[in-house]
């Protein structure tokens, strides 16, 4: 039985492991599970970057018809990730600092850092420079919804409420 990669309707190339049924089961063996979590983290971040998704909710695993369907379930082998498993993966992602609970003090929704906050700051600075908007006062709306589509389009600014990078940079000018 050979596992093969698969390209989804949106053009995302799913890894071969995604078609292995054990991939969707939480493994009792901790060593095995850590590999599994690592692969899931990579898959989620890759997909988020590809689709420009910032938020992942536990509900996405429970319901169908949302943008995460292609990753969180595999209809070809009739498997889906269980909410408890996903919750475990999200916890691990938060612990490794590639995601943050948003809003804080709950564990059902995360903001995905498919770029680190520092990287986002760089992106914002480059964007402001390239569009000649340095030292210009910009509203959040200007940044998240510029007339010309940028890398920052659609970024949820509430996510950086802890003050890292973007907000101070944007508001300080």
């Amino acid at each position: 039985m050979s596992l093969s990669t698969h390209t989804t309707q949106s053009g995302f190339l799913l890894p071969s492991i995604h078609s292995a049924p054990p991939f969707f089961t939480q493994q009792p063996n901790l060593a095995t599970q850590s590999i599994l979590t690592e692969q899931w983290t990579r898959l989620i971040l890759a997909y988020a970057r590809y689709r420009r998704l910032f938020i992942l909710r536990i509900e996405d695993a429970e319901t169908t018809g949302n943008e995460w369907d292609e990753v969180l379930r595999n209809e070809r082998i009739n498997r889906r990730i269980l909410p408890s498993h996903l919750s475990h993966i999200l916890a691990s992602m938060v612990a490794t600092n590639v995601a943050a609970y948003e809003p804080a003090k709950q564990t059902r929704t995360v903001l995905l850092y498919w770029r680190l906050p520092e990287e986002w700051a760089e992106v914002l600075h480059n964007w402001a420079t390239s569009t000649a908007q340095l030292n210009t006062i910009l509203t959040f709306y200007d940044i998240t919804d510029p007339p010309i589509e940028s890398e920052l389009s659609g970024i949820p600014l509430i996510g950086v409420a802890d003050g890292e990078g973007v907000r101070i940079f944007a508001g300080g000018r």
């Binding site: 990669t5 071969s16 493994q27 009792p28 095995t32 990579r42 082998i77 009739n78 498997r79």
Partner: protein, 583 residues
Amino acid sequence: MALRRNTRSVDGTIPVQALLYNDEEIYASQEGVGIYDGLQKSPNHQSGTVHISTHRLFYIDAYNAYKHSFSMDLSYITQTEYYAGLFKSSPKVTLHLSGSSIASGQGTNDDVETGFESWECEVCAYRNPPGLSPAAARVCGLCGVPRSSVPVSSASPIPHHLSSSLPSSAVSSATSSVPSLSNQPLDDAPSTIACPACTFLNHLSLRSCEMCSTELPRAPRRALKSAPSTRPPSPDPEDEDLTAIRMIKISFRRGGDKAFYAVLKRCLKSKAWEANGIGGIPHVVSSSPDSTPVPDRNTIGRSGITGILRDVETSAQGRETGMLDALHDLEALMVKAKDMVRLAAELNEKLTAASTAASAQSSLSPLSPQSSLTALNSAAEPEEATFIRSSLSQLGLQMANTPVTLDMMKDEKRWIEELARELAQVLQGSSDKDSGMMRTRGMIALDEVWGGWNRARGVALIPPSTFLLVLPHLPQFTSPPIQARTFASGLSVLHTPPYTSAAFAARLSGLLALTGPKTTAEVAREEGITLGLAEEMIGAVEAEGDVCRDEGEGRGGTPGAGAGAELRWWANLFVGYVWDGQV
């Protein structure tokens, strides 16, 4: 009424000390008391002195000491109550009386009087002096043997004559026995009772006919009724009321109640009247008319918490003695046990020697025409041997060829090793036979081994603790070596080399790689082990990370549909996986 039934009239003109039994003692006295009979004042006993002794309670009337004084046995008292008094009501002590004397009200007098004559013990011929309390008088003062029969019953009038020589209290109580209680002049009552069978005119106080022993119509009072003209002028309203409250009250008009009550309690507690009689509970011949009050008094003495406690004590003592006896027996048996075992071993050796000789003989002439005969003989001989052996084993004495007992092996280590050898034989069978629990099975649970081994032993069973001690020695005596293994769940098994953890993991991985994912049941079938064992073993392999699980199909689509989904095992495809998806 209670007053009449339970008390005995005494001559109050005599000093109280003279009224006492020899073994009786006065404890307290109080003057200025009145008596209530039941709930009502007793008109004749309103001013007098009460004395309390170890056995009795005396009331000496102040006005008419001769007629209205009485005594009452403390044994009648079942319960006491104290009332402190209120305003003009004086303090009172209520004595609840047992109803035991209802029938014996008449006979009591006779009974007591018999105690007041001297009598000779049948056993030791000791002349018992008169004047003891009734209970004490029933047993011989020297040897303690109860007075077996009361001769008085056959010659009832005699005590009256004898009693004239006795203390005057007895005389007075005899002469004024019943009538004085009912305030009835003695002369008015018929002095004899005609026997219904032989018409002999018996004395009034007899209860059975002197001539023919027929029971007499016991009621001079009934006789009185038949002659209404002789009825007392002041009839007692409660005369026939048997259900009336059985109690009397002592009213302390001039104080002293508290001290008196305390003494009364103490006297009741000490039960002096019983203590004397306890050595020999009187066994008066039942035909004797005097016997009736006796059992009553005994039941009174034994009832209550003290009686129960005494019973418990006695039974506990008996049990302890029995237990000690039993243990002695056991010790004796243990001393003998070694000898018995030795005897059994010797016997068994002889049997074995005989059977080997027989088999040697048969093997010498395998082709001779007699071979069938010798074979028969050799077959018959083991039968006898088996019989002897089985009877030995039924006695709990096993022989040397199978079980090894602690007695045979002084050195415990050697004992364990011998056991291990024996277990190895149970598991793998002896070389010639094809039996043995692990002949065809590679893995077997420990409980099954233990059960099977003990069944094979039959007697001198091996406790689990010893069994566990034996297990580490097992590989030395088995080939291929059988080893013990404990799974994460605590399940312990014995297994042959193909079932070691590493071997099984390798085999399982190979199987999965070759034929794809498998359920636990499929693995169990493949390996020829039970489902539970397979589960444990795969669990162990999973813990080492060689396989991974896939918990269910159908869960992806409709929730709940995956309820029947089965766990499938996959080779661990995460190890060494290289990302081949979108970068």
